[in-house]
């Protein structure tokens, strides 16, 4: 029998290796009141460079997507960066909508220098107010009256002369020109009275004939004259119209000319003012009516603007009158209409009506010439908003239309305002998953969002960065109006930051978590009427945060203590081991010990993952289990088929199992079951393993160690308890103080392991055994017993196969 060759068993970690403290002496202040604010963003050089490039480059599609975890302070950093960036830029033009006098359904858009949109609106209102006074005045002027009298007099004289001439001619022939209800008639008269029919009939024949002929002739003259009357009326009306026009031009022309001078050189304004002038000339009765109506109204009514003059309004949808620099718009509700604007309606007598004054700007309008910041997830959740944003960015213009119009769902007449030219940088802020999904599934996305600003979740921990971090904490504390933190408290926060990222060499950039902790510590200090937040309050704040979320963990640990969940912490068992898992419940995660068991029998080389069979195991977990089969076959029985059927199960786990961090534990349980060597139940194991038996890093190492420690402590276990962790996870250790104290006292142990052999040695107390040159393991080693067990299974299978084959051939013989 070969002797087992020794493999060096790893020693337990010392207490100092379980935690990397922050030395307050390194920080160099007493309280945060002693240090100044920090202006730079810590550890986000990559993201800031991307922001700088994305915001300054002029190329098409260089919009930004800011990746990072929620709570990492992306919004604040982006906002502060853009404010600095935009401050030096020129304010963009105002954007106004005015009436399109040719087609009111298509309002005209006019770009104005910053602040001048409101000026134009004011000037137009003043113009209309002036016209309401000056137009009636012009019509009351003596000049107008004179000229009107001239026209009326001329027409009257022409008419009068003709009728008087006819009347005189009629009188000379014994006739009269008589008015009738609708005109005139020529009739024989005597003493001003029409000759009665009997007297006319009694006239001698020749007189009667002559009179009839005279009547016919004069009536014909009358007819010819009156035929001209409508023509004269038309001519008169035309001349009055021209007169009106001349008079209005005196009132309007000068005012419009003055406006043109004021807005000289601005594209579109002269043409618009020309159309206004034309429209005023065509609708002068509106202005004349105002004076009369004012006289009729009992009280002056200034509350509501006159509807008749709405068409001269200027709707300044985007005004930069009060702005400095480029606009930065954060739209928290990026719905379709909040992005592209909307056209409002008013109800009038049961119908909805609208005009250009009811066009409202969207965030795209407001941000043009600057930056639009949107939350990617909220944007994608809004119907059609993402499509609208892309359309605007591709088209370089923002077109305000309702969803119904966009989808061609309605055929009723609506407004189609001029699209506004768009010069914008869109900054989407979202999580990483969304970014990668968009890259994968939306072909427009990479074209429109070419710049990714990826925010780090953690930064390197060095003396410099720690000091900078402390200043950042001081700055944030002042921004949140917290009381000063002592240097020890700051150091404690920094340590907690390292724990948050589960890495003693890193610090968390998740600002929300840090500020929440500081706020809670500040609250506790206030409760104690302290003036400075101490490290004790920080510890209490951490404990309070845990305590608030601790209910589920407490129930699980209680179940373990009461034996309802089976976890042993002493003794040794074959095919049974304590694995460690991490349960994540919202913002709180904790380690949960779980029993893993393995059984073996003759088979065809399958290692069955029972979790997978019942669909409680995830793909990564299954992968870890499958690796075990490969490891077994390649390491122990290269020259014969693997002839076992093994089952692995997470006992009393009724939720899903994911991840491969239990694969080392599963392998150890399996090897124990094959070899029959019992495993110490005072130890728990975490770590993944590859096909060669190498132990690999896992996540949540701190929670796992602390989870098993808590169970052991509650049981008052004897002192040889501990946890096996991957050696590569040692830098991640930021364990609790009580764990460190237990390790220091030698009542709890943390073993770093690199290989499955090291783990087996610790778990079994037996040498794992190293293969010799021929590949044979020492017989008394764990590996030797495993190999022997597998060979025996193979032999049994072969024998079983022969017996079975013989029986089969015997059965076949006659």
């Amino acid at each position: 029998m070969k002797q087992a060759k020794a493999t060096a068993a790893p020693g337990a970690l010392k207490a100092a290796q379980l935690f990397t403290p922050c030395d307050p002496a390194l920080l160099g202040f007493e309280t945060t009141a002693d240090i100044g604010d920090v202006t730079e963003v810590i550890g986000q050089g990559r993201a800031l460079a991307a922001l700088e490039f994305g915001s300054r480059t002029r190329g098409s599609g260089f919009n930004l997507y800011v990746l990072g975890s929620p709570g990492s302070g992306r919004h604040r950093v982006v906002r502060e960066f853009l404010e600095r960036e935009g401050a030096d830029r020129a304010a963009p033009p105002d954007w106004c909508y005015v009436n399109n006098f040719s087609d009111p359904q298509q309002p005209l858009g006019i770009a104005m220098p910053p602040g001048r949109g409101a000026e134009l609106r004011h000037d137009m209102r003043q113009l209309i107010e002036d016209l309401q006074a000056s137009v009636p005045e012009a019509f009351q002027s003596e000049n107008y009256r004179d000229r009107l009298s001239e026209i009326e007099g001329e027409f009257q004289a022409r008419n009068t002369q003709a009728l008087e001439s006819l009347q005189k001619e009629a009188e000379a022939e014994g006739m009269g020109l008589l008015p009738t209800p609708h005109g005139f008639a020529i009739a024989p008269v005597r003493d001003g009275q029409v000759l009665p029919e009997e007297e006319f009939s009694a006239l001698p024949e020749d007189q009667r004939v002559r009179a009839t002929e005279t009547i016919r002739r004069l009536t014909e003259k009358l007819r010819k004259h009156l035929e001209n009357v409508p023509i004269w009326h038309r001519e008169r009306r035309q001349r009055i119209k021209e007169l009106d026009r001349d008079v209005i031009m005196l009132a309007v022309g000068a005012l419009i000319k003055d406006l043109k001078l004021r807005y000289k050189g601005l594209p579109g304004i002269p043409e618009y003012l020309d159309r206004v002038q034309q429209d005023v000339l065509e609708n002068v009765q509106d202005f004349r009516a105002v004076e009369k109506e004012r006289g009729m109204l009992p009280l002056p009514m200034h509350a509501e603007p006159d509807e008749r003059f709405r068409r001269y309004e200027v709707n300044v949808v985007v005004s930069h009158e009060q702005s400095r620099g480029a606009p930065i718009v954060y739209e928290s509700n990026p719905s379709y209409q909040n992005l592209v604007g909307r056209v409002e309606h008013v109800s009038q007598f049961g119908t909805l009506s609208t005009d250009f004054t009811m066009i409202r700007a969207g965030a795209m309008h407001a941000a043009s010439g600057g930056f639009l910041v949107l939350d990617a997830e909220r944007l994608l959740l809004q119907p059609f908003a993402w499509e609208a944003l892309k359309r605007c960015l591709f088209g370089g213009e923002v077109r305000t239309e309702s969803m119904a119009q966009m989808l061609s769902l309605v055929s009723t007449q609506g407004l189609e305002p001029d699209p506004m030219p768009l010069q914008i940088k869109v900054v989407l802020i979202g999580n990483r998953l969304l970014y990668y999904l968009l890259c994968e599934y939306d072909q427009d996305f990479p074209e429109l969002f070419k710049v990714a600003a990826d925010f780090e979740d953690q930064i390197e921990r060095s003396p410099e960065s720690v000091r900078l971090y402390a200043r950042m904490l001081a700055t944030v504390g002042r921004q949140l109006d917290l009381m000063p933190f002592s240097v020890a408290a700051v150091a404690r926060v920094i340590e907690h930051s390292g724990r948050l990222v589960a890495d003693s060499d890193k610090l968390s950039t998740h600002l929300r978590s840090i500020t929440d902790l500081m706020s809670e510590a500040d609250y506790l200090a206030h409760q104690q009427a302290e003036e400075v937040v101490s490290d004790q309050r920080v510890d209490e704040a951490v404990a309070c945060q845990v305590a608030r979320l601790d209910r589920i963990r407490s129930r699980i640990y209680e179940s373990i203590q009461r034996g309802m969940i089976l976890v042993e912490t002493d003794g040794a068992r074959v095919g049974q081991i304590n694995a460690l898992s991490v349960m994540q419940l919202g913002a709180f995660s904790f380690g949960q010990p779980a029993r893993v068991t393995a059984t073996v029998r003759i088979g065809e080389g399958e290692v069955v993952d029972i979790e997978r069979e019942v669909e409680l195991g995830g793909a990564i977990h299954s992968k870890g289990v499958l690796i075990l089969s490969s490891f077994l076959g390649s390491r122990y029985v290269r020259d014969m088929p693997l002839s076992l059927h093994a089952s692995l199960v997470f006992e009393q786990h009724y939720g899903g199992v994911e991840g491969d961090s239990a694969s080392l534990a599963e392998l150890c349980a399996l090897l124990s079951a094959i070899s029959g060597v019992p495993l110490r139940q005072s130890l728990a194991v975490t770590g993944s393993v590859n096909q060669h038996g190498r132990v690999q890093t896992i996540g949540g190492v701190n929670e796992k160690v602390e989870g098993f420690f808590d169970i052991c402590r509650q049981r008052g276990a004897g002192g040889d308890q501990g946890v096996l962790i991957p050696a590569e996870n040692v830098p991640h250790l930021m364990l609790r103080k009580d764990v460190r104290e237990a390790v220091g006292a030698g009542t709890f142990h943390v073993y770093p392991v690199r290989t499955v052999d090291e783990a087996l040695g610790l778990l079994t107390g037996v040498e794992a055994g190293v293969a010799g040159d021929a590949g044979e393991f020492p017989e008394d080693s764990v590996n030797g017993r495993v190999a022997q067990g597998l060979r025996e299974l193979a032999q049994q299978r072969r024998e079983f196969g022969s017996r079975d084959g013989a029986a089969a051939s015997g059965d076949g013989q006659p």
Partner: protein, 296 residues
């Protein structure tokens, strides 16, 4: 106030002549009769001449609007007259509501001028519309206009369409009782219409300075808020008055009618020359034809 020395209720008669425009006459009525609380009477005369016209088969009517010639039918004409009468009744009723006075409409068949003169004899204010451009044809009173001016014991207003075409009230006054009555009415009109009053002083009666001082004192008492300008016109003849009225853009020319004949001639002449309203005012009963300026 118009000084009407009568005890009975003031009667205002509006000639509802279908050929004369009503709206302006009624607009002027609301100004002229605002303080009178009168009895408002609309007089619609179905002219006997129209019936006679219809009986003459050789006579044809020529439409004023279209120049189309057609025969006259009595039934059709009576129907047209009825429609016109109803329309004017409505307008009169509206004016009466505005003045808050009672009104009634009298329909008379007969000789138009005779009937008007008969009704005018009991009238304090007589109004008739005057169509623009129809002055010659519509001077239906003809040579008997002076009879109307002489018959109406108060005021005759021939109201131009539109009423508010000018912006001053011009009154011709030579200081006699009729002139002072005209001045009083003109001052009230100017006050109501918020326009300037122009007084054209004639050279009859007293010396100009004394006359002007007396009239100014009267005006200062009666209409202290009215802007007044005085123009020495010398002889009050139609040509000068018409020139002045045109120059001043007169809305109405107010004349004293102490001598109805002269007033009628003046009215006829002014109607030919002016496009504005013309008002004649008779002196109050018992007033001398050439009393002192302070006498009214």
């Amino acid at each position: 106030m118009i000084e009407l020395a009568i005890k009975r209720k003031t009667r205002v008669l509006v000639a509802l002549d279908p050929a004369a425009p009503m709206p302006s006459a009624l607009e002027a009525l609301t100004t002229l009769a605002a303080d009178l609380s009168p009895e408002l009477i609309g007089l619609f005369v179905e002219d006997a001449n129209l019936r006679r016209l219809c009986s003459l088969s050789c006579v044809r009517e020529v439409s004023m609007d279209t120049g189309i010639e057609r025969g006259l039918d009595l039934g059709l004409m009576l129907n047209q007259l009825r429609v016109q009468r109803l329309r004017m009744e409505r307008l009169l009723a509206r004016a009466a509501r505005q003045l808050r006075v009672p009104h009634r409409v009298e329909v008379i068949r007969g000789e138009l001028v005779e009937e008007l003169l008969r009704a005018a004899a009991l009238t304090d204010l007589f109004l008739v519309g005057r169509a623009s451009g129809m002055a010659g044809a519509r001077s239906w009173m003809g040579s008997r206009l002076h009879e109307l001016v002489g018959t109406v014991p108060g005021t005759v207003a021939i109201v131009h369409e539109p009423w508010r075409i000018g912006h001053r009230i011009l009154v011709a006054c030579d200081g006699d009782a009729a002139g002072r009555a005209a001045l009083t009415l003109a001052a009230r009109l100017a006050g109501s219409e918020r326009v300037e009053l122009v007084v054209a002083l004639g050279d009859g009666g007293l010396s100009s300075a004394a006359k002007k001082a007396g009239l100014m004192a009267t005006l200062a008492r009666q209409a202290p808020l009215v802007d007044t300008r005085w123009v020495e016109l010398g002889q009050l003849i139609p040509e000068r008055l018409a020139t002045l009225a045109r120059g001043e853009q007169a809305r109405a020319v107010v004349l004293g009618a102490g001598d109805p004949g002269a007033a009628a001639q003046m009215v006829e002449a002014l109607l030919q020359k002016l496009c504005c309203s013309i008002v004649t005012v008779r002196p109050p009963p018992g007033a001398g034809s050439s009393g002192s300026a302070e006498g009214s």
